[in-house]
Symmetry: D2
Subunit: 246 residues, 4 copies
């Protein structure tokens, strides 16, 4: 008799999505080799540098693939397109913060080498482009949904890392400044989700991309951990130059 | 002995570009079938409707191809990328103004048909995508350079059309509002040109795109004029439905 | 009572297309500055070189944009996709013939400069990409329909040019060999048109692309003629190096 | 004193690549949940159907992303481009074999549902597009290098599956016919690798893509196994319709 108003439906879906995000993060925080290592305080400058160099690689593409959604989407009211381009513009150049933060560790720009992304980083990049370039255009919001609010979950890890590495907040521009920028972005994402998700399929597509991208990010974290192990064990690695510099 | 400072060089190039733009516009205003017709006050609702429907078609792509420059450009300082995405976001949805203005002529939305773009309109769209997607990324500024300041040249024509058609300013949202929005945009374009054009080749590429896009727009105007002639002469045209409605 | 069988319908459409192609060619042959000049036997090595360098530019893209149709088309039976990729593979490297033919005029490869395409050449390239990348995928056949059978119309011009320039057939690899290769291709195009054009809109889209690309090729020819005039009159041109070499 | 001739170098690299491929396959055959299950003869029609539907999904893209390499590569001698387009043309329509094989299990085409690809299938597709569209164009050969010779490793599994499912060879068109087609393709890939890999970086890029794509295929196999488990355990799955039909 009483139909659930649309408004309530989207609130309910958003809540479900939020719960699911929490569950995936909690799983990652409990099991991911990199994340558990950081929680135990076993952070080295080398580990942080490898992490920041992967961050550089995928961040370089974030504004581009965000804009790509708007370039290819067929969207009538234009609101989502506007969001895509505006958000893209706000992400421009953030990869430079990652470089700056590696330099802050004590590596001069001349000595800084940026090896190709790790395979897991490239897989992450490839998938984000794919979901930006094809399929349901709203689904890229599933990536933003966790990425723009990651700090709720990883702030303790950032704090732990900062302490162990003896860095000031001003030396961790990528992580610290994102924690603040992203608070607004996270609200925008939720608002946009409520506006553009009209069908159950929309919400499913968003959830799937949220889970898949977060899981691929987890794989990237694992790969960073393994690459660091390579360095520690003196095995060949494109990052072994860090052994000399840090 | 005295080297010309970079600042002066870019001012000089900008001046040259400005003069060239003026010359091309003056040539168009003196020779283009559509533009001379409007100047003589021979504007009909049908002519204006065909023009607005072409405007709808190419405007629909402006934000997309503008963003595309940022998606594919390899640009280090990020300033130009930011400009591309911001400008793209400001252009979103402008094609709806064109539709609204056709409706203002007295065609209800249900009866409004939007035929495929005229070949000359599609050529214009194709070329703007091409220069956005390939070659020197700065060259798309050559399109913006004349498009964002077109009102300096066509305002008398807009005024003449408004008078002949008996329209209020509020019924010509595309043309009238753009005249205002674009004043700021035109300044942005000039500032951006001075920042991103570093070599003589950059300026040449921009000039070439300015001339080619303006000339293709001229061809589109001619095609609009010819299509209107088809209507007047009762020849077959995808726009002949306008004969019934206006 | 009697329905026109599909077979007959497509034959009739093909005939109409063939007649239209003939009409456009005849118009071009009668009015185009380059084509009438060649018919009068006023061919110079410089004119031919500028023509061949434009041919190089657009031919470089032909296999690519042909393949692009297959990359983006959603086609169920696969026959058209197969055609696109096979035809693309046959077009690979043809631009090298154009270069070889310029060298045959007596310009060594070291001295050969390839300026940017003329604007009209770039417009032609841009439009062919556009119709390959967007809209009805079958419409690119409208380009192939005239391009693969051009020799029926331009053979007398090729013969005239060969005579005036004192070249052997083996020195005109692009034009002479294409005349032969393309005979088969032209049959393939007709067969494919009959298979993939199912609706009236399909045939219209093909016809429109045939007319538009042929008309843009005509514009390119005119531009080649004008550029040659620039050389003759000693005006600045990116091709003025030909004055020294030929 | 004696420099290793190029010929020998490429033979050595090819051998190294071949050994590496063998090692990765042996690891997969020993540890992958799907592959070990099949080896134990625990194949069901449902498992095979889910596998074939994933095969359908990624095979649909193989000709397209193969052609894409040629569309975007800047390659001077054209041999590799020709290979890309020819190989693309040979892959067209192979996804239809996968559908046919599912139908052979006893599902009529009307009842056949094709759910979205599993996330791991989509990640695989996304990565193959990414390496086809960006970076070193030769690297896609790393995918072909294992994919076109997979039958050397999986033939016993195909044979086992065929036996368990009671199928004739003619009912397994995708797997059986590929085993034959691909023998030639595998030779082509090796020949092409020797022609286009000129630097150590080329060989590294190829190896990396070989390892990453094979590992992502392994992940897809694991996901197929897990999805089948869902069915068996009666948990919700987009493939649960197979419970009714098989």
């Amino acid at each position: 008799m009483l139909e659930m108003p649309v408004q309530n439906k989207s609130l309910r879906e958003l809540e479900r999505l939020t719960n699911r995000r929490k569950a995936v993060w909690e799983h990652l925080l409990a099991t991911n080799a990199l994340l558990t290592t950081v929680q135990r305080g076993e952070v080295t400058k080398k580990l942080y540098a490898i992490y920041m160099l992967q961050t550089y690689h995928y961040t370089l593409h974030n504004s581009r693939n965000q804009a790509l959604v708007g370039v290819r989407a067929i969207e009538e009211n234009g609101q989502y397109l506007k969001y895509c381009f505006e958000h893209a513009s706000e992400e421009v150049g953030h990869e430079q913060m990652a470089i700056k933060d590696v330099v802050s560790l004590g590596i001069s720009r001349e000595h800084l080498e940026i090896p190709d992304p790790l395979p897991e980083t490239e897989i992450f990049i490839a998938y984000v482009y794919w979901i930006s370039a094809t399929g349901n255009p709203v689904r890229r919001l599933g990536y933003s949904f966790w990425a723009e609010s990651a700090y709720d979950f990883v702030n303790p890890l950032i704090e732990k890392a900062r302490e162990m590495l003896g860095l000031k907040k001003s030396q961790m521009t990528f992580l610290v400044s994102h924690a603040m920028i992203d608070e607004d972005h996270a609200k925008d994402v939720m608002e946009m989700l409520r506006k553009v998700c009209r069908t159950e399929k929309d919400w499913e597509d968003v959830e799937r991309v949220m889970e898949t991208t977060l899981s691929l990010a987890g794989n990237m974290f694992e790969a960073i951990y393994r690459e660091h192990q390579q360095l520690v064990e003196g095995k060949p690695s494109p990052y072994s130059y860090l052994n000399r510099l840090l």
